[in-house]
Amino acid sequence: MANVNLRAEGPTEFDQIWGVRANYFACFIADHDASLARVDPLLIELCRLRMAQILGCDFAFSCRYAPAVAAGLDEAKIANISSYPNSPLFTPRERACIEFAEQFSMQSSSISDSDVERLLEHIDPETLIYFVKALSVTDQLLRGTVAFGITPGTTAPASLAQFVSAPSADAPLAVG
């Protein structure tokens, strides 16, 4: 059950709750989508789902970032996301970015110069800028969704135009 009682019109609980401040959410999600569009979709999707695990956002696993799906998102990686440090499924670049995303999500003020330098061995400085911004909007959306107590749905929210439903265990990937 959700943590707040207000609802706007919308096809899913996510749409109904975030839609209560429709203008804010429209502005936020425009910035969110633009920020994610500047980075590697596969990379940010892996980071989003790892951050969701850390923040306790079950809802996040009910949908997938459509550009990542279109780019060949591997569900096996998602199934093994918590063992990314040692799993052979993940590249060194993916490991470095997911580890950084974890830090960003848990306590960004603890990120040190050497943490950034280590990440810059895998991505260039301009990409770092866009990557950090994408982590921030992802972090905000996850925190709000958890705080509102939004539960996983069977269809992707209409207001998350860049997301599609996650594949169920016995269904093919839904590609938007």
Binding site: N3, V4, N5, L6, V20, R21, A22, N23, Y24, C27, F28, A30, D31, S35, L55, G56, C57, F104, S108, S109, S110, I111, D113, V116, P125, E126, L128, I129, Y130, V132, K133, L135, S136, D139, Q140, L141, L142, R143, G144, V146, A147, F148
Partner: protein, 219 residues
Amino acid sequence: MSTKPRIPAELAAGFLMLGGGDTSPAARIAIPGELSRLAGIPIASNGSIQLDPVVHECIRLFNANYQGCEYCQNARQAVAVQAGLDEDMVSQLTRFETSSLPDHIKAALRIVDRISSAPQMLTADVLDTARGYFTEQEIYDIIILSCFTTSSKVAITLGVDPGKEASSRLFYPTDEAYPQSEDLQQAIEQLTKQGILVDESGDGFDPIGTKPGTTSSPA
């Protein structure tokens, strides 16, 4: 945490905490002006977060401390100061549970604290306690504001926090940091009718830490 840039100067050029205007990569990722109007300014404009300005500013400053954003920690919203925010309150935010802050501010900060640290720990009892002081819409807005005020994590992580030198002053709603719009202008006119100073031209109070000349709340 760093105020020393971790990205090359040419990529950071033109970065501002609120809004941009430049086309450098860092300026491109600034918080959009309209988003700032809707969530970042403690005044009631069309479609915006609608919280008491003191509560709004306490939430912002609590998160500024939590995230370690020097720029955010040292700015003060003039509307909130006029509504009663003072430096004694600000000094108690970090340890709010054992502070002498009003109970309704403690209730709001419990929500913010959970969302900033571990949102899955935002339990029903925390929300129910807050419902004793706030409407359901205000609870909703506290949650949104708690999320929005984590935006400074970007500047901190990249080492482009402009620091206290850039922010140690009162910010009026007419400040050039905020993109002007018809909605904001209407809200400013409403404040003026209530006797709230909306720019630095008015006489009365100013330096951070002084008691305001009026306690009227625009909320």
